[in-house]
Symmetry: C2
Subunit: 211 residues, 2 copies
């Protein structure tokens, strides 16, 4: 590589690292004070950068939130890639779900609640949340379809049955400092396992009487 | 009733009605603009009252949020009372769950997300959320215990298995304007039904491998 090309690459890496650094600082600010109370000035202080410098990377607070969401999606894509290379897709799916819900920090879960609430008020954030949800849905349904153990398994219906549970685990993680995701994750895995063999969703009762 | 007693009662009813009116206005403001962006001035404008008049009822924005939460709890208590008077507790439990999740508006669900996110930052709101959750937990576990159909049913474990699902239905309601809670509520009822006969929570798999 020429010295010039190396310098360009260093600059690119430097810019990417600076972006990461700003996103880390933003995450810390948003969690501590909430999205609305955080200003670009707070963010600059947390990142030890000048506000002008921050604006070279993100032109608004909203752009920072979208950047955080994009980073989440990229991290998810890395997990997915690892899974798709693996031989035993089912074991990897179960392992990835466990890792995701055990490793999500309370801070990240709180930020997710903020973003969900904001999605209804801010169309750009709403579209981003919808896109992320739709990608996750498409991918999980395809995965269920690939590893189902019975023709009775309806991958889309299985997804609908477990999706609220996954969102609820994130809420629970945000609410309690000492939350143990173990029982809920084990239940999620067992539900997916039952669903792959066609035993879930359970047949519906009458909504009014529950019979 | 004496005229004086009647006047006292009218004043009381008037004050209660005024409080309700302020809470309705607050709900509209919080949903539209979020908790943080709403000021007591906005609230006064929405309620068509002077800010000074609002402060006679609530001394801070936080007090308004606590008032909203208290109203939610009271509404829940009315449902619970209706249930406890009914003969067939099981049918009423199922019907009340269905009604709650079908009738919760998107606005109320979004507000709940805001309150959950704020719970981690504001100790008064955190304590209120925790108290509400604990009351719901205690009551549902007692209800499961009263109507279980098998000694194999572990009411506390059943609650832990379905609690995240209930939170997740609220998140889903907040996210999509056209959300249909039907499938998730039917699944919740079927899970409770299975749990009452001891079939839920499902036996846990190995968290890492999912076998």
């Amino acid at each position: 590589m020429s010295a010039a090309a190396g310098a360009v690459l260093d600059t690119r890496n430097g810019q990417a690292a600076r972006r990461e650094h700003i996103l880390d600082a933003a995450e810390a600010c948003f969690v501590r004070n909430g999205f609305h109370r955080t200003t670009m000035q707070d963010l600059a202080r947390e990142a030890s950068m000048s506000p002008g410098n921050i604006y070279r990377y993100f032109d608004s607070k909203e752009a920072v939130v979208l950047g955080l969401a994009e980073r989440d999606r990229e991290r998810g894509a890395v997990l997915v890639e690892a899974m798709e290379r693996a031989g035993d897709k089912r074991a990897v799916l179960m392992g990835v779900l466990a890792r995701f819900f055990f490793e999500i920090t309370r801070e990240a879960a709180i930020l997710r609640l903020d973003v969900w609430a904001e999605a209804s008020r801010n169309p750009a954030i709403g579209a981003m949340v919808e896109r992320g949800d739709e990608e996750g849905r498409t991918w999980l349904i395809a995965m269920f379809d690939a590893i189902k153990t019975s023709p009775e398994c309806d991958p889309a219906a299985l997804f609908d049955a477990v999706a609220p549970l996954m969102k609820g685990i994130i809420v629970s993680r945000a609410l309690a400092p000492d939350y143990d995701a173990g029982p809920a994750v084990a239940q999620l895995q067992a539900m997916i396992d039952a669903g792959l063999s066609g035993a879930l969703p359970l047949p519906h009762l009458d909504l009014e009487t529950g019979r």
